[in-house]
């Protein structure tokens, strides 16, 4: 057959895009890549699901007070975790031996509910519920003084990769929060949980677990802990991120910690790109 590909001339027109070393790093069509930070001033903040939302008013209200007090000083993008309802549906779907991609799609409903709850509570302070498709409207929301609130889940859904040795999706709300910060060009993502940060084991179960105030991503991967305070993929991605180089975990149950984190203080645990 004599047919020809009708290509548009560009440095990538005839380069395979699947090379182990992509064109911009290899010798082939070489051009520089100088990425732009889109909205580096935004504070990307995650509200824990099981750790905060499932505690109800007692835990949520003081945190919302701190967030609304800071909202005129900072552009806040609030992302929600899932919690026990997500665990419940994961347990049922796992028992039915359904695929990981389906679990990821099911798991996306709960953080969205939580985001809607926070929107209602923050409505009088400019809380606005947004979907993934509204992400490009963030400049408008901030310009208007709003607090955009969204799910922490990334939109992978049915396209979530199968998990090795289990069915729980690897990309959940921590991953979505990190990836939101990364694409916006934000240096530090803040995770509000019910612990002071990272410990050597689950502090709720092991009273001898000791607190780790800061640690590098590679070092953390090297330690190969059975349990972690954030999803594993996030630590992996941190090690090769271009913009988001710090993850801060703070205890939202301790008054003032969220405010201090928003002001840039190194409270809780900082996991950094090393």
């Amino acid at each position: 057959m004599s047919s020809e590909r009708r290509t548009i001339d560009s440095p990538l027109a005839n380069a395979p895009l699947t090379q182990a070393t992509p064109p911009t790093q290899g010798e082939a069509p070489s051009f520089s890549y100088d990425p732009v930070a889109l909205m580096p001033e935004v504070k990307v903040v995650k509200m824990g699901g099981q750790s905060i939302m499932d505690r109800g008013r007692q835990a949520i209200f003081p945190i919302l007070d701190e967030l609304t007090a800071a909202k005129d000083r900072h552009q806040l993008l609030l992302c929600c975790g899932g919690g026990t309802r997500a665990r419940h549906i994961y347990a049922i779907a796992s028992e039915l031996e359904l695929p990981t991609g389906l679990l990821a799609a099911l798991g996306s409903y709960v953080p969205r509910q939580n985001a809607r709850m926070l929107q209602m509570l923050l409505a009088r302070h400019g809380g606005i519920f947004i979907l993934h498709d509204d992400f490009e409207k963030l400049p408008l929301y901030f310009r208007l003084g709003c607090i955009p609130i969204m799910t922490g889940m990334p939109p992978f859904g049915y396209w979530e990769k199968p998990t090795e040795n289990g069915r729980i999706p690897q990309h959940r709300t921590d991953a979505g929060v990190f990836l939101s910060a990364e694409v916006l060009g934000v240096k530090r993502a803040i995770f509000i949980k019910d612990e002071d940060g990272l410990f050597t084991d689950d502090p709720k179960k092991n009273p001898n677990a000791s607190h780790i105030p800061n640690i590098g991503a590679r070092e953390l991967i090297r330690r190969d802990l059975a349990d972690l305070v954030l999803e594993r993929v996030v630590i992996e991605y941190l090690a090769r991120a271009r913009f988001c180089h710090e993850l801060q975990i703070v205890n939202g149950l301790k008054p003032g910690m969220v405010t201090r984190a928003l002001e840039g203080e190194n409270v809780g645990t900082i996991i950094y790109k090393d």
Binding site: M1, S3, R5, R6, T7, I8, S10, L12, A13, P16, L17, T18, Q19, A20, T21, P22, T24, Y33, D34, P35, L38, S51, D54, R55, G56, A59, T84, R85, R87, H88, Y90, A91, I92, S94, E95, L96, E97, L98, P99, T100, G101, L102, H132, Y158, W159, K161, P162, T163, E164, G166, I168, H171, L179, E182, V183, D202, A226, L228, R242, F243
Partner: protein
């Protein structure tokens, strides 16, 4: 699940009783409790066919029309879901996006549009034979289309968009249309995928730039993973995902420039390259 409708309190949180209650979903020991050797197949007996964007679509009428004719016949005998890549317009998009310095997630957000354009064209050609363009929100209408004898054309790029993970090397998004179609097949429990490209299949290097490239008619996934060619005809992430996948057994790559190859592949013949898990 032993108990239903049980709310558990006492530690400041309100839990629903379930085996994962209170557990850290990051804990390997917890995750391992959700493992099992079997997995439910949601839509078996369907074959996914992916047409190359750069390799097939960009060649236009001369290649597309015979393939469309083949697909019309194939649909009479097989349940098929069709996808198409983006091709040269994706490359052009990426080249400009890299030049202006968009972040990886920003590039991933852009590229899907060019594939959708190709899917619209394909749908226009096949509409009178019962094709239907399936938008992502219509995911669960797939059984309706397939049982009704239709030929669904799905969006091949996965919905990673702004949330594309940082690539291991370089700034290009790693989750492309081959990977997206693979995941589409895997999550629904399909057994095989046929990719239609402009080469006979897999080579140990790019046959377009290396005339000594060696053709690989048959290979197992393990063999391939142990010795990955530096140039690949499919997305690297496809093989990464396939490693932990449970349903897809066979990925076949056939030459769409040779009339009848796609039909033979659907009939189960070992033409092109067959990769088996």
């Amino acid at each position: 699940m032993t108990k239903r409708n049980d709310l558990v309190t006492g530690d400041g949180r309100t839990h629903i009783a379930s085996p994962l209650m209170r557990e850290s979903l990051v804990d390997r020991r917890t995750v391992a409790t959700t493992a099992s050797s079997h997995e439910y197949r949601i839509l078996p007996d369907v074959t996914l066919v992916g047409l190359g964007g750069h390799s097939i679509f960009d060649r236009g009428k001369e290649v597309l029309v015979p393939l469309v004719d083949e697909l019309i016949e194939i649909r009479k005998h097989h349940k098929v879901v069709l996808g198409v890549g983006g091709g040269t317009r994706v490359r052009h998009t990426v080249a400009i996006a890299l030049d202006v310095g968009l972040p990886t997630g920003g590039i991933a957000q852009l590229v899907g549009a060019m594939e959708e354009v190709n899917a619209v064209v394909l749908n226009a050609l096949l509409a009178k034979h019962g094709s239907v363009l399936m938008y992502r929100d219509h995911f669960w209408e797939l059984p309706l289309y397939l049982e009704g004898g239709m030929l669904p054309i799905v969006i091949s790029i996965p919905p990673y968009h702004f949330w594309e993970p940082p690539p291991e090397n370089g700034p290009l998004p790693a989750h492309g249309s081959d990977f997206g179609l693979f995941m589409h097949a895997e999550v629904l429990g399909m057994d095989r995928i046929v990719f239609v490209k402009d080469e006979d299949g897999l080579y140990d290097s790019d046959p377009k730039s290396n005339e000594h490239a060696r053709f690989i008619p048959h290979i197992s996934l393990d063999e391939l993973l142990a010795n990955m060619p530096s140039d690949l005809i499919l997305d690297r992430q496809l093989f990464e995902a396939w490693r932990t996948a449970r349903h897809v057994r066979k990925v076949q790559i056939v030459n769409g420039l040779r009339q009848g190859e796609l039909t033979r592949a659907l009939a189960g013949e070992p033409c092109g390259t067959v990769i088996e898990k």
